[in-house]
Symmetry: C2
Amino acid sequence: MSETRPESLHRRGFLAGVAVAGLGAAQARAESPAQGPATQAPAAPAPDKAKLPGYVAWKDADALIVHSNQTIETRRSAFGTGLITDESALYIRNNVNPPPESIVADRDGWRVEIAGVARPGTLTVGDLKRLGLTTVATVLQCSGNGRKYFQDRLPPGQKISGTPWTVGAAGCVLWTGVPLKAVVEAMGGPASGARFITGTGGEEIPPGLKPKDVMVERSVPLAALDTVILAWALNGRPISLAHGGPLRMIVPGYSGVNNVKYVKAVSLTEAETDAKIQAGSYRMHAVGEKAAPSQPPVWEQPVRSWITAPLEGSRAGRVVVAGVAFGGVNAVAGVEVSVDGGATWRKAELVGPDLGRFAWRQFALPADLGPGTHVLASRATDSAGNVQPEEVPANGGGYSHNGWRGPAVTLTLA
Amino acid sequence: MSETRPESLHRRGFLAGVAVAGLGAAQARAESPAQGPATQAPAAPAPDKAKLPGYVAWKDADALIVHSNQTIETRRSAFGTGLITDESALYIRNNVNPPPESIVADRDGWRVEIAGVARPGTLTVGDLKRLGLTTVATVLQCSGNGRKYFQDRLPPGQKISGTPWTVGAAGCVLWTGVPLKAVVEAMGGPASGARFITGTGGEEIPPGLKPKDVMVERSVPLAALDTVILAWALNGRPISLAHGGPLRMIVPGYSGVNNVKYVKAVSLTEAETDAKIQAGSYRMHAVGEKAAPSQPPVWEQPVRSWITAPLEGSRAGRVVVAGVAFGGVNAVAGVEVSVDGGATWRKAELVGPDLGRFAWRQFALPADLGPGTHVLASRATDSAGNVQPEEVPANGGGYSHNGWRGPAVTLTLA
């Protein structure tokens, strides 16, 4: 008996059994904003199999919402109640098509150019493994996670384009690699005048396009040198191509785009890169304005949280309201939970291991929810005293949403 | 290009590229004891695909050594340098065939009987999720991990039967579930006289056998009530059948057999169970003696560590010697590393997040290894001051090995 198709059962893990049938509807409701104008349903995923593009065909289709081949969201229900996010359920956001799978055929042979140091040169991943070792847990989150909550509240005539992510363009994972600081030290230290760490991704530039318009090259402040790692493993395994293997530059606490995939060059630079993805995108600007280098870049993530349980489909009675909370580069100081749409709040308990200040914490609070409709919300405070606001004014790129009302969960229990 | 078989490439993850060809030989050497009598090679795994039984066909065959359908070891090389162990590479040890996959079709419907409390009764996993939530990282380790190191040193005429595990019947994983204490409190607290927590597994008893001879029923001291959880998730996903889903009793710091899979009953009892797996097995006794209830049971794991990098196939020069160390129920206080077979020792650095006292820590120490043969060893100390000895006297079951010499790695570098 145990010889029969365990793989498919295992792979559908999160959505086992009777829960599957009703998920499409439940998901649509759970993801709709607690308040705000009635909006169109999101491009509704079929309740059976999402169509995964080939480079992520190994992922758990039932855990994911496919917005496009390059934008794939983790279902809120797929976060479950665990602490970390399995790679099979982790969101995908690419700015350019991934390189071919052949680049992970010889992982230790992947080369990265190190510049802006006293003795520049090129190292292989094999070389990097001789320079140091550490692991860091981070929340990897698309800069636009929660964009839908901005879009839903826009007045007529205003528009923010971009993927309408709800809460699922994020995950908490463990990266293993070498501290960039150890690499820089091995190469004689930073060149004089260095102010930024600039990483360049290994994507192929499609012919006919200007490289600067397409390349994924991002700069972050040199202060991050204390925490950046060049990572070869994710959750204990070599990083898949889809998530930036064989080598990814991890900038803990910074939004996803700053964590350069298939990193082929790291340079300590005097200025931010003028690649379009840095100079003309991922900037904080007003709705309707264009991005420009004078505007603040999207770097550190603000304090944020959301509910992961219970979701639609639960019964009335005693429940454990649970979710995740993180503070970007700051630790989480506390989380409050409301089961009445923000009218009253109670302090939740932080449970499970503390994976460090860049990771998310789990929180839990028992609550008695009678039959009827309830609006569950969470509001986190970070170690610097920042508290999630109720709503955040929209910005033109729909970045860094961290209001608590948008991701609130409306539940009708019987 | 990215549409071509990414799955298979991903799945072979750990052994990508040129390293594959030489692995069979490298593994055999790496796993052989640093000193001691010349022994037969272990039942050598083919360097290509290990044959995985159907219920674990979804695992990464390249990461595993199949001793039998019920005993499957993680290759030392598959630990990589990460902090946690992916379920695809986690070892398997079953005492009885797993139940059919159908038991994970409706996970929340799985029933567990709770007895030895003021108000006994049966709860579903769905009910348990309403009682509490926590996550705990533990080293899950077969009681017999390292048995080969005992077997290799036995004088002629003596014998310890059992799987010749080296270091790979272990992993560090995150479990999510409800604290058993919360369940017991919800049911009115322990019945008077309770001294043990007794968990019963959901294995089917083959017809014609006496249930007590076959059933997986284990008792641990009631003091563990402060830390035991009933877990439904492993590394953020629902627990696979192979690892005890839909529900497993996790006794942090205790060896694998105490962590009852597919747990169908938990009882607070006055005495240890008289099931054979508790009364007549997993006891500390002399070689040649039979197990008996008067002997100490195999419960808490002793302090232990091993090297995971570099392994055979590395080049001479500067390397980072890395590995994992744990202290059972005690935190790791420190780890020393020797690159000369134990003649001299240096303090290694503990790196990466501390997942709590039941988890393992990563350690790392830079070292310059010239051409020639080197014997790499690690020696951990726990927070109670216990230090790994060089060798451990053999015991009849080959349990709880924690000498540092056995798992030392002999490397020849060019």
